[in-house]
Amino acid sequence: MLIIGIALCYLLGCSVLLKMDKKFSLAELFGLSFLIGIGLETVFLFLLDIMQVHYSQPILMGLNIAAIFFLTYKYSVNKSDLQYKLEEFKTSAKSVNYVALFLFCIIAYLFYAIMIKNLFWPPAETDSITSFDKLGRIMAAEGRLKISLFQYNLQGAAGVYPPLFHGSFAYVYIFGAETPKIVITLFFLSLLLVFYQLVKNYVGSTAAMLFTLILMATPEMYAHAALGLGNMPTAAYICAAVLSTYTWLDKGGNKYFWTGATMMGFSVWMRSDVIAFVAPAILVVLIFMWRAKDFKKMFIYGAFAALPFFAWLLYVKLKIELPQASRFDFAIGYSAERLHTMLSYCKAYLLAVSYSEVHGGQLYGIAFISFFIAILINAGLSFKKGAKTIFGNQAFLLALIFMSFALYFTEFYLINEKVQAATIASLMASSFKRGMFYFIPLVLFYTATCYSSKILFDKLEKFRTAS
């Protein structure tokens, strides 16, 4: 039954994608189908809870089949669409890129190794036991989102988190999974596939494969591909949301508009704190669409990105009845000591140095360092060739990354240590550290696709193809 459950999830996601656009690559179809599919499954769980319908396999299967039928009954297989797919396949089969193939083999081996480790062990991490897996298991057992443990405050910290992550656990439990970690492997696969395709759009498959390898091998990220925690899966959504939005703004077209908007919505359906990414994205889209006088897209994007956030806030307030805003202390004012602690941790993470018990280099490898080096090189080149030539629309991507980081930093600055029952140092060494995952695909995307990298990879490609 688990295979049926996962297949339905993929089919549902695929149906939505084909409704958006027919020209998705195979990597995008596989990667995005799961992210959209599992996101929608948790929306079903949410709606069933509101309607007080008990979760069960038949109900979910019925809902899935009805949704897939509704999305695809008018879908006709166009000859040109098939030709497009066939051409794509033929081109890749004819001109084998041996370098990309070599890198793919390394990625496949690393993926296999972490997958067998992930699937062997049940979740045993403290956060998973106290929150995520507990919520997922009991949601499946009780057939509702607001489980009985809320009555005695035994639900754990993630009880107030939006339901995408623990809901995905509940979904596979409903379909008979012994442990829910299959979804971790599928989230990781989606992250890699989506990142690969979005980078490939700009610099070709060799560079895209190399940077996908760098992304996957980022030490802390790779370790999390075998843990039952929600940060790496959130990074998959943020990666798809921000980079699709950027690609849409940069290249135009409907495909990435819809994926950007949908993924942005699912990002806040995963964790409310990623509003730090949604707010700057809406601002950038607002500027672009205002200039283009396309108010319809502006409204649709804003609605898709913000509605899940407010829907969950309302659910927490009206049904769960737990105050969420109390996690923040808005009257904190200026605290030099707190700021110093936070900045010291940030310096360690971003510049790959040590602070207290953490070492940024050992956690994130070359991810952030290469980003800063790329910015410096391009800034240097901009003196010669002009900032517009060097940065172009990527200035908006950089603005998005820096604004999101500033907001994410502010969220942690405002956290009420007493309510959170943790010091700011311990939060920076744990939660903030894991939150840095969200930035890794974004900074690696910039490093791979910036002006200087494009020149470098163009030369490499010319050498490889002997052209």
């Binding site: 890129n97 041996y98 370098v99 070599f102 890198l103 390394i106 081996y109 690393l110 190794a113 972490i114 067998i116 480790k117 062997f120 062990w121 049940p122 045993a124 403290t126 036991i129 106290t130 929150s131 897996d133 507990k134 298991r137 009991i138 057992a141 443990l149 005695y152 405050n153 035994l154 639900q155 754990g156 910290a157 012994e178 442990t179 060799t206 091998a217 980022t218 030490p219 802390e220 790779y222 370790a223 075998a226 790959a352 140095v353 070492h359 280099g361 050992q362 956690l363 994130y364 490898g365 070359i366 360092i369 490499l460 050498f463 490889r464 193809t465 002997a466 052209s467």
Partner: protein, 257 residues
């Protein structure tokens, strides 16, 4: 109409002289050169931290020699120097790539071995606890090998009805001992004992409804007898057991091994 790549090449003038080898061999050879260069870079990154893999065996050898140092002084000195060199070599580049080395060496190359070892350990544990180890390894077996208080939780489940409410031992007397990690935390314990409920010691006033329903007290390291409304003779106090909240007419103390 846009020109194809081939058209553009034709416009540039006559084609370059063709090599004697087949037309596809040049890109293939060039691909091999790039693959070779990448392999060298990856191997260099790996070797940069390869000394760490020797650390454990060197340390084991040193410990063995320290047991019997006579005549082994020179080797002990060599080992001390080697271990010192590895431990203090923390240059920026080296630490930048240490995580990648760990990913490949310990996680990727070691994944299957670690799983095989875990299966062997689990089977050994099952034999130790008198269970049949010929069957498949279950989720519970794996959790028991990861979470050292899992068997205690299992014991609680076996000796309490599903509607039981268990008072946990106080955190302040156990939190310093990693052996009893989280046994006082109701959020953590609840995962293992659901649908039974639990309540943290000292929070009875916060959750009066739950406190009223307490059916058992979990005694750990002999702590918790003061929470019982009846006296248990000193000679009958087990260090690790589950006590009913109401005085039983017969001895129903459940002790855990």
């Amino acid at each position: 109409m846009a020109k194809t790549k081939q058209d553009q090449q034709t416009d540039k003038g006559p084609k370059k002289p063709v090599n004697s080898s087949s037309p596809t061999s040049a890109p293939f050879t060039r691909s091999l050169i790039i693959i070779g260069a990448l392999s060298v870079i990856f191997t260099a990154i790996y070797m940069l931290n390869a000394g760490y893999s020797d650390l454990r065996s060197l340390d084991q050898e040193r410990r063995a020699l320290q047991q019997n140092p006579s005549g082994n002084g020179q080797r002990l000195d060599e080992l001390n120097h080697r271990i010192h060199d590895i431990e203090t070599d923390t240059g920026f580049i080296k630490t930048l790539f240490f995580g990648y080395y760990y990913d490949v060496h310990s996680v990727a190359f070691g994944a299957q071995d670690q799983i095989d070892q875990a299966i062997a350990d689990i089977k050994e544990d099952k034999t130790k606890f008198g269970q049949d180890n010929s069957g498949p390894i279950t989720r519970e077996d794996k959790l028991a090998s990861k979470v050292h208080t899992f068997r205690l939780m299992d014991f609680v489940n076996a000796n309490c009805p599903p509607n039981a409410v268990i008072l946990l031992p106080p955190a302040d007397s156990l939190s310093g001992n990693s052996k009893w990690n989280f046994i006082w935390d109701p959020m953590w314990v609840e995962y293992f004992i659901y649908p039974r409920l639990c309540i943290a010691s000292g929070t009875e006033k916060l959750y009066p409804d739950l406190a009223k329903r307490i059916t058992h007290v979990l005694i750990v390291k002999g702590i918790g007898y003061d929470k019982l409304p009846y006296e248990v003779p000193a000679d009958k106090r087990e260090p690790l057991c589950l006590m009913p909240i109401h005085k039983p007419t017969t001895d129903t103390t459940q002790t855990s091994n």
